[in-house]
Symmetry: C2
Subunit: 592 residues, 2 copies
């Protein structure tokens, strides 16, 4: 080994010892005829001092520039009084150099490393290997590695088998767009990259593996949002002979254990909340419980008012009218309210009614609001009592289709929580349970809320009779308003699986074509089974406080699904396409 110690591991205990460091020149200072090099490696920085008496070594030190790779030997000593650096692990000591070797020269980097420089993300991605040298970037990937490792050890120690499932597979039923891979040996046919190992892990349960896990790459060819990547990583888990409370208990322990090990955070026990309650109180199926604001339903008080904006949704079975009280914000300026009105507009809300509660004792006179005049005083009082409004508060209102009201007020709640610094905790995990089996599409057809292999809580006959009312045995783990993972007990009965397919409008021919191997497997002794998948990237984002998924992936793609460093995707030559029996469309046009 060339080095004796990592730079960041040097400390006063090594005083008097000769050490050899290998790393990058992070900073160079010349001071009083002496050269100081801060040498950087994965574990941190160390200050190495070059005195002119040591002529050759000093001359070498004089030649080095930022980001040169060097090997420095010297003796550890305590820094003089007043020269210690408490921000540095090795800040109490320095190394008096006795030798220096330049292992690799370096051009001036395209952007400086020692500060949050103003360079654009495209340049940082193009020179990713330089950007990753920045300690705050490297730290996130180090933590990612520790997170994977902690999860693996937990699952290993709990009898889970790590089984690899195929990347070249069949089009998956998750619904997003697949990445396709043309087959050379079966021309005209295509593999798909998996959106998840869902069916393979279920088949492993049918095979009797009992407890499976995999940290698995998954793929979706979707238009990228801020926190999406074409390939992402899932902590994928499946078990047999366990019910939902067993699985939630085990994976909750895993996450609690992870936070304790990696962040030294005690998450405590996770509350369980039915989907219906989450939507009602927080307007979201992934409520951020750090924010002490809640939606309150008031449709019953507004069914008979003349103001159609309220009475319409209040009388519509698919409508919702709800209020959101914000304590102490009665003096919110008009401009701010206008801002929030625009914000809820992004979620489809056509406006944002409000009441400023100046002095409740004065009755309607004490309320400042464009809507008070439309609401009878009794109802107004009931509403204000119900939301717990006191003088000095502001209460916002939403009235529309239920989905719009929940989305809009749910988002406003989050926004207010952050704008007003209302967060009551650093971490707020919970389980959301009792999801509906299906959601209704605009055309009245049904889609699976999780996926079509999720077990309902009812019999096949009950499901057929009232699919819209059926609840599923699904569960989501939510942390700080982000869905960390989701799963369910799966269907292990062929008849139930076929019933779900029917309700989803998948006829027998399509069932056979797409899911024949699953239905086959359910005939040959499938155990009760269920599982869960966590989004590793999101988990790492949360735990590292990263702002973007790109910060927690070593070599991410841009928003247009390209790698600016390697220039992928790239062109390929005609021979390769011919071997695959495909051609580009323009080319075909030109030839035709």
């Amino acid at each position: 080994m060339m080095r004796s110690h990592y730079c960041g591991h040097l400390n006063a205990g090594l005083e008097g010892q000769t050490v050899t460091l290998c790393g990058w020149v992070h900073r160079r200072r010349d001071h009083g005829g002496v050269i100081f090099l801060d040498i950087r490696d994965r574990e941190g920085l160390a200050q190495v001092v070059f005195n002119p008496e040591n002529v050759d070594t000093f001359a070498t030190a004089d030649r080095v520039r930022s980001e040169y790779v060097v090997k420095a030997t010297g003796v550890v000593r305590r820094r003089p009084d007043g020269a210690t650096n408490p921000n540095l692990a090795s800040g109490e000591i320095e190394v008096i150099a006795t030798g220096l070797e330049i292992l690799s020269q370096a051009d001036t980097p395209p952007f400086p490393l020692d500060e949050h420089s103003d360079v654009g993300e495209e340049t940082r991605l193009r020179f990713r290997y330089i950007d990753l040298r920045r300690p705050e970037m490297a730290e996130k990937l180090k933590l990612r590695s520790r997170i994977s490792s902690s999860i693996r050890r937990f699952l290993d120690d709990n009898g889970f088998l790590d089984v690899e499932t195929p990347i070249l597979t069949r089009a998956t039923p998750e619904g997003a767009r697949d990445y396709l891979v043309p087959s050379r040996t079966h021309q005209g046919s295509f593999f798909a990259l998996p959106q998840s190992p869902q069916l393979f892990k279920q088949l492993l349960m049918v095979a009797g593996f009992d407890r499976y896990y995999q940290i698995a790459k998954c793929f979706r060819d979707e238009d990228l949002r801020a926190d999406r990547q074409p390939e992402f990583t899932q902590i994928d888990i499946e078990t047999s002979f366990m019910d939902e409370s067993d699985i939630m208990g085990l994976t909750e322990t895993m996450i609690r254990n992870l936070f304790k090990e990696v962040l030294d955070v005690e998450l405590g026990e996770f509350p369980h909340m039915p989907y219906e309650e989450a939507m009602r109180r927080f307007g979201s199926d992934k409520p951020d419980l750090r924010i002490p604001l809640e939606l309150v339903d008031i449709a019953d008080q507004l069914k008979d008012v003349e103001f159609k904006v309220f009475s319409g949704p209040a009388n519509d079975p698919k409508g919702r009218v709800a209020a959101l009280r914000v304590p102490g914000q009665g003096a919110m300026p008009r401009g701010q309210i206008d801002d929030y009105t625009k914000y809820v507009g992004l979620y489809g809300a056509k406006g944002l009614a409000y009441i400023k509660v100046n002095e409740r004792a004065k009755g309607p006179e004490g309320l400042q609001s464009p809507i008070v005049k439309f609401i009878p005083e009794d109802n107004l009082n009931t509403i204000l009592d119900r939301v717990g409004a006191v003088d000095g508060d502001i209460v916002f209102f939403g009235a529309d289709k239920a989905q719009v009201v929940s989305d809009a007020l749910g988002a406003l709640r989050i926004r207010l929580g952050h704008d007003l610094n209302l967060l009551t905790a650093k971490w707020a995990p919970l389980w959301v349970v009792d999801f509906p089996m299906f959601e209704e599409n605009d055309d009245g057809s049904l889609s699976a809320l999780h996926h079509p292999f999720t077990s309902p809580k009812c019999t096949p006959d009950e499901l057929k009779a009232a699919p819209g009312a059926a609840l599923s045995r699904a569960y989501d783990m939510v942390l700080n308003g982000t869905e960390l993972g989701g799963g369910s007990i799966r269907i292990h009965d062929k008849q139930m699986q076929q019933t779900v397919f029917e309700v989803l409008g998948i006829d027998e021919a399509e069932q056979k074509e797409k899911f024949g191997f699953l239905l086959d497997a359910l005939r040959y002794g499938a155990p009760p089974h269920g599982g869960l998948a966590f989004g590793l990237d999101r988990l790492v984002m949360l735990m590292t406080g990263a702002n973007s998924i790109r910060e927690v992936i070593a070599f991410p793609k841009t928003q247009s699904a390209a790698c600016v460093m390697t220039q992928a995707p790239g062109t390929v030559d005609a021979r390769q396409l011919r071997e695959l029996n495909i051609r580009l469309r323009e080319q075909a046009k030109t030839e035709g």
Copy 2:
């Protein structure tokens, strides 16, 4: 949890306790009015006894068939004398049932599970979830999981960071055919699936990660041989500031540790052998040292014989003449020798000369051979002395281009070792080192023996002057004649990298187009670095004694790169192809 114990974990220590088992009905026997069910789960079998007195439970037991999934409750008791089964972990006890629940029915499986049945591999692959229930199949994947886990823990504990590199990437330079993925957002461009994470791991070193590992999926669209799969798994390792002996030492410790942990085998220290010696003594760069037979060069003794078959190669600088002595096989029947002659023909040998040493004291009279007459007695004696031939031996000869002789006699050596049961050890690991940098193609051009990022042992000028003579800083780990892994110290100097590209005939434009980002990275401070990649599938094959790579992969592809279970690859609809801006060639023809 539905079960209290795994079946295979029951033992006499639980006598008198009530247990609940969940699993598959492996076998059912009715004997003396009593029903015996062997219930199987991941950990083994347990015998559950149903007495007719317990009417309901007995009736349920009477309904179950093979591969039903059941939950059985009962009391553990010692089996009566004479009824114990020493082949079973739980063979001392049985469970007297008090309850039985059928969790899932099962049709009769398409093939029986409790024996090596005669069913074809295609059927086994189609019903893979049933084939994997066979304990000998499941055992291999369990061991694979333990192997991955042991490797990961070792690397974690030695400061390696697990970093994921992209699957959607740029065409890689390994030389095999890439799998391509059409890009939807960059039409006409394609991603390639990686043949290895080689360049990414080198860039992680440039980024300062110091120690990287990944158990990585890799892809090659090649025509499949017996032990190839389109996707395979690599234990991928890269380090900075370590030389080849550091890296070999560390990874050797990892493999020794693995064998100790998983198989309780002590591998001892691995010998190091130069490539030249391996080819000379064993005709292979991955010699199987369990076989005590060696090739001996004898060209010097045959330069002047009239027999052109020998004198030709003996005088050709690219030729080789070698002998392989097989002790005590002087009575080998003619038919056997003919067989071996055919066998070496597969490796290009045009014949297989031999001498049976009947009685050396008699001179040429005592030798039985078609070739003795062509060789002067002195040379004959020198040859026989050199190979150590004694009465009763047979000596085989090869004379041809060096590659043909090494391949043919090398393969014959292995074949003889197995046919004659000559193996001297169960495990014989070694390092092969000092590989040539390049191998010559038929057209006189050079190819990299490892890959073009491998560091030579000489300067750029020396490399340019005599590339054919240059050795590389590469090393392969070999076990029982199989290459477990290979690696090298990489080039970290831009000028050296460009020189290697030039020697390989890659001009500047192509260098920039294909490797521009690597050459860029080498400008900005690249540390000395190197690494290694192990083939996980092959490692698992060796450690489990599997005959095919398909036995150690949960859902393998067939020889034609298809999955007969999921019917992948499959057809896709026209809309998907249109989105990707590609079309099939026949289709284009029809339209054109």
